[in-house]
Symmetry: C4
């Protein structure tokens, strides 16, 4: 197996699609949005990407069959828009692998004449988020201005420490290859899968793309998660003061993924 | 030394053997079963596999001689069945090594015209197992149905988190190369070497293969382990309540390997 | 992307410049000095260095744009002196990467006919430093004697454990390639960014180079940091005795970078 | 820099020397013996070995100069014996590097027509050793018998877990290349540099080699260490019972290296 194996599972003609990346990361925000888009748009898979830089394991499907850890690209095409949506089980497990895989994603983008990429992620702030916000980063100053019009926030100190993994490297390496790229990050606690944050990102993304997507299923999932969080908070209050060494709500939340 | 060195120690003609993998893993269940089969069937070693991805050490034999960490393939051939059995001291110590070695195993399988592989492992559930169970995964839906007939259990949430290492990758990569493969996992605590779980796997495996293997030695080993566990439990009860910070039975068990 | 990508952003003719390395490290002493020099001398960037051995992330600029993690070389040329100043966001994240990158830096040095390199760093002693000191190391005995005249201290036990990363490897590998190199280390606590230590290094370095640099901005930054440290000490005394398990001043300082 | 750089610093003609390896390891036993031999025999350096698999740092000499982390081979030749002695600052810092470097050592051995190698190390047992013992391992059964005559102990369970690093791999890989190799391990606590254990190894090694080496300097060093250990034990007894959480003698010893 070479460093990256790109398998085309369906040939498709596209003029100049927009690429969207939603690999796993903080709060699984990017993954939630990208997978939701694939489902709602009924996008079809065109490419599978395998690599020895992914964790050395297989995923067991609900029916008992297995498959290699992989990343996948789905395509959607309508009269208004063409999309390539990149999702996957895991990001690279090695340092160099992150660079190698991001370059492979960009090679695919160039191959399909992609002119712009949106990478999606979460920005963990270590506490429950009251009001959903989406912060951004981009590989050209013009893109920053464009994004601000849609309510994407840019502030000097967010995200501190840079953007780790594919969502960041696609912007950085993309800039070097002349592909415009924007990263949209839903602000999230970082402790749990956060469909409410995903919703905020999806809302802005669909507005940018000029497409309409039914939000209901995501709204339901967000409500479910809020019910769980509310119950955990209640349980905690009933216990009174938490003893030193006890597990607090935040730690509980860590298990809900 | 290249990434993998495959040394043929004995040339052998086989028509289309079944391959069985039992490398070290959770509860050493797979290793116990595979090594037991080799001994009971008096299989003979045909291949040694060396790699700089194995831990950088040598194994000291009881007679004071040493040998490189390695994986080995044994062959067994009778009128009813042909087997290739893969065992070894360790799995890969690096991320890429897991992929490289699993591919090497499959290349050997293809070379010997292997049409089906059974990978054996343990599935740790974090508590002592009352009733032995064997859960499965496969790289084709037909195999799942076939295995169910032998009592292999398939449930949506087991194994959660996928199958790590060679037992998983052989299924995943094997599927891509057109080799049927099934993983049989003995449910085990994960805290100790588990011959009782190995027995459950061996029972199902021999039924699938249609061969007969004397179970007595494994039964004895299982009873010995149960005696040790029982004694530890007793000791714990005699101590009365365990003081905070004390080592509990489960932690004791961790040392019995 | 190859192991190292060297991008020349501006062609420049130099006779035989002196190279100064100030990559991130203990107390960010080297980085502070090198970046201060670049600013005060208005040196201009001539080279960018990219590598998959850097951490897999991008840096977000204050304006919301991003850029790849990189190292950079700035050039300064006057009637008295020619300088190449190497700075960057991070050092290598992998073992081999440290060697590969240091060799790349030296190849660039050879290319520009560099005859001498000063690498700058901090030497952490685990406690607040009363009197700033600069200790040294070099890749030729004559350089040790030369440096002593400028007040650089050389003692048998400092730095114990050697010099880690580019500041060390440039000396070691440079010696093998026939380039003279000296490492100047500001003694520092190791707990916080230390502009006072950087000042001590800058003072000696400018004397060695025979150039004049306005120290005022660095003096201000050092005073600010001293005010913060003094406040933290005060807070600690007000709390009286620190309870076991409490965070002490030193740990607080760790967050001020 | 390639994976291994072998630099010949002095050409020398040898008929068929014996190689001795004493790289850093448990209790620095092997290193102590090998360096002691080099000093007492006034062996001269013939080879330096560099590698990006060594830790990315330089060693600072007492005079303020630095040098790359390296391994070195010294040669000694008299009417009775020819020796190649391998010593160094560090072993590999990466998994594959251990294999690559051990192969490089063996290539050098083959180049000099080495027929036998002694690798030296320590075997840590986790408690102070009352009576010095030397345990062994070898890559041929005949060598085990031969070593037993010199008082080298071979027992089924020592060393449990195999021999890690160059001392082990040289035996394993050496066996594959047809070079006889023996590992002599001084039993040691594993908590401190152990010249007493080194003495036991040196005594047996010189007897095997049929050479005489003045033991006085090593005896002095062993006595010094015993004085330190005795003082620490005394201090401990004076403190009476050690409070839970206090540092015990054994932990103190860890700092004396």
């Amino acid at each position: 197996m070479r460093d990256v194996e790109v398998v085309t599972v369906k040939s498709i003609e596209l003029t100049s699609p927009i690429m969207i990346e939603g690999l796993p990361g903080v709060g699984h925000v990017g993954k939630l949005v990208a997978e939701y888009l694939i489902e709602e748009l009924a996008a079809e898979k065109i490419i599978e990407i395998y690599s020895p830089h992914f964790p050395p394991q297989v995923i067991v499907n609900p029916d008992g069959t297995v498959r290699m850890v992989r990343n996948e690209i789905f395509a959607y095409s309508s009269d208004e828009i063409e999309l390539l949506i990149l999702v996957g089980d895991h990001q690279s497990n090695t340092n160099e692998g992150h660079y190698i895989l991001s370059e492979a994603f960009l090679d695919i983008a160039l191959n399909y004449n992609v002119k712009r990429i949106y990478t999606l992620g979460g920005y963990g702030i270590g506490q429950l988020v009251e009001k959903p916000r989406v912060i951004g980063a981009a590989n050209k100053p013009e893109l920053v201005d464009e994004m601000k019009k849609y309510g994407v926030e840019f502030s000097e100190n967010e995200p501190g420490g840079g953007i780790i993994g594919a969502s960041g490297l696609i912007l950085g390496l993309g800039g070097m290859k002349g592909i415009e790229a924007v990263c949209l990050m839903g602000v999230t606690s970082g402790y749990l899968v956060d469909p409410r944050s995903a919703q905020a990102v999806l809302r802005i993304l669909t507005e940018i793309l000029g497409i309409k997507v039914d939000m209901e299923a995501l709204e339901e999932r967000a409500k479910e998660m809020e019910t769980i969080v509310a119950r955990l908070k209640e349980m905690e209050q009933m216990q009174g003061e938490i003893e030193p060494g006890e597990i607090s709500t935040e730690e509980h939340l860590d298990y809900i993924r």
